[in-house]
Amino acid sequence: MKRWTGLIGALAIVVGGGAQAQDTIKIGSLFETSGFLAFLGNQGLEGANLAVEEINASGGIDGKKIDLVNFNTESDETKAVIGVKKLIERDKVVALIGAMNSGSTFSIIDIVQRAGIPIVSNGASRAISTPVNEKKWVFQAPLTDVLVINVLIDHFKEKGIGKIALNNADSGFATSGMKQWQRIAPERGIDIVIQQTYGNNDPDMTPQLTNIRAKSEVQAVVQWGTGKGQAIVAKNYRQLGIDKPLYYSHAASDPNLIKLAGDAANGIIFPTSKIAVVDELPDSDPQKKVTANFIEKFKAKYGRGPATFAGNGYDSMIMLADAIRRAGSTDPAKIRDAFEQTVDYPGVTSVYTYSAVDHYGAQPEGVALQIIEDGKIRLYK
């Protein structure tokens, strides 16, 4: 008997859903507030909550307030599957904002596709929304490596740089970056003279950089990685006295890079969103107003400055709300169609233009080249 009652009790917890108010628009989010990517998920959720507050304060969408329901996916794919089903079925959300963890998004693509609910994912892996004809319901908001690589190549062309060295970590982010470089660079006439890979947790990258130094024809070095590894590269690079310009990926906006690398970080050039350099932007920049507003409100609400990924959560929410407003409906299919028609939307992270063949959205003009000078990030001019 005791086992039965236990089971029923547990089921009751699961099934007994909350009462639903009809005068709100329910949006689900899958930010991970625990587990190994909690530091990203928490930022994203803060950004999204800020957006919701802002939208609701200005009267909501056609008088309806937004109700954001977050499911903590615990950075776990199995949990993400459970969570997305709960949000779709129990909370009856009309659209979703995805997790920071690419894996969590991958694992739920089939489910959102079947359910016909649009999702704006914050995972950075390009495979999330390609091929577009098979991922009709999946959109991405972050900067992708292809985008920033193209921005860098544009810059190289301008500077007359044709021969580069590529040094990358063996993490998922960096491996994906390496593959894109090897695909895009030849297409655009850039020669990768040498490519080196280091272990993500290696304590010293001198061997790889020594190999790179030996190639005198190299005009610039591109470094692709995350975390403390990219700080070590900066230090080793200066120690070896390599005098060629050093370019980093968009992951260089991590404040720990400057903290860990100190003076060695000075001179690093990297393409990323404009959040760190908003004061230096010309007033003509469409993102200036949006970003400044975001930073100000974020500081007011949370008492500290926003980290990069808060912008992702914020943009996803704001763009979804915009799509709902334009669709004039909370029908998921109509929201999806409206979202796909987003054009030149200035967000914090980027300027977004989606289309039936492009679900990445982020545009090159949303990316600005930046340089570290005296331990500060400045706009590169």
Binding site: R3, L7, L11, T33, I82, I88, S102, F106
Partner: protein, 317 residues
């Protein structure tokens, strides 16, 4: 025994029309398999394992690779992966069962780490940290059955769980089950009675690993995408937590605990950032005060409270 009845009643779940509930129970049933495996090894035979996520993952990656890279039939892939993991664990047992207690725990932990690193590093085969997408769902073309939806896959998971439960119950109730429990208490006594202790431990490890691998294979074909992360050390620890809550040596208790551990975190989400803290405290309380498991513990507590209500002076703590 109410457990068989409860398990049969589960069959109506897909008809309740809630994908969420169906999916939740599929996950519970898939996790119940490795939990039963750990219980056989750790609960009944007394050999600690902190590496079972590796067997689960090897089953998942093996089956997935077979159908994604090899284009083979998913069922054959699952069977093959299960078989290979069984063979591998037999050799593993030959190495690690030279160790006992803490040393065994560390060795199994190390095994779990190595396998997970392999999942990350063997990119061509596993897709590295980005994972392996496009794993086909299960079908039985001859019978015109497909298990693409939660409602249909539910029955696959259910059958797998029932098979595991029945076989585990058979094993622990058979005379060999007595010897398994004997090993947990006194290896030298068991050995003096003519049992080759190491060989027996290895056989139990093989069963335990194979049942985990089979579940991993089903998981891969259910979700359709795998990455190294669900097979990391966290899952091994979760399995140990499950069998601790389940009372180590009770198959029904472990089924309940799997359900509990998967479900408890849902209402706790209301607590926002503090859910982890409350969950942790809860586990500590269960493990410290309910060594027989949550099911028995709660039952005992309930009885004590009832008798306490009748005779207030007699209530102990």
């Amino acid at each position: 025994m109410k457990t068989p009845l409860a398990l049969v009643c589960l069959l109506i779940v897909p008809f309740l029309g809630s994908d969420y509930l169906t999916n939740l129970l599929i996950v519970v049933m898939l996790h119940a398999l490795p939990a039963i495996g750990v219980s056989l090894l750790m609960g009944y035979t007394g050999q600690i394992s902190l590496g079972h996520a590796a067997f689960y993952g090897l089953g998942a990656y093996g089956a997935a690779a077979f159908s994604v890279h090899g284009g083979g039939d998913p069922w054959i892939g699952i069977a093959l992966a299960t078989f290979l993991v069984g063979v591998m664990s037999s050799y593993l047992g030959w190495v690690i069962f030279r160790l006992r207690g803490h040393y065994l725990a560390v060795a199994t932990l190390g095994f779990g780490f190595i396998v997970n690193i392999a999942f990350v590093e063997l990119r061509d085969w596993t897709g590295g940290p980005n994972g392996l997408p496009g794993i086909p769902p299960l079908d039985i073309p001859i019978l015109d059955l497909s298990f693409h939806t939660d409602g249909t896959f539910f029955y696959v998971a259910w059958v797998a769980m029932i098979l595991a439960v029945v076989m585990a119950q058979n094993l622990v109730n058979a005379p060999v089950g007595l010897v398994m429990r004997g090993i947990a208490e006194s290896e030298r006594a068991v050995s003096s009675l003519g049992n080759d202790v190491t060989s027996l431990k290895r056989k139990i490890l093989v069963i335990s690993a194979a049942v985990s691998a089979a579940s991993g294979g089903l998981y891969a074909h259910y979700i359709g995408y795998i990455s190294p992360q669900p097979f990391a050390i966290d899952f091994s620890i979760k399995l140990v937590v499950i069998i601790a809550i389940g009372g180590f040596r009770s198959i029904p208790g472990i089924l309940f605990a799997t359900l509990f551990v998967t479900v408890i975190t849902e209402p706790l989400q209301e607590l926002g950032y503090y859910d982890v803290v409350v969950y942790g405290l809860f586990l500590v309380v269960i493990i410290a005060y309910m060594p027989q498991g949550l099911l028995q513990g709660a039952y005992g507590l309930g009885r004590r409270m009832l008798s306490g209500a009748r005779a207030p002076a007699g209530a102990g703590r």
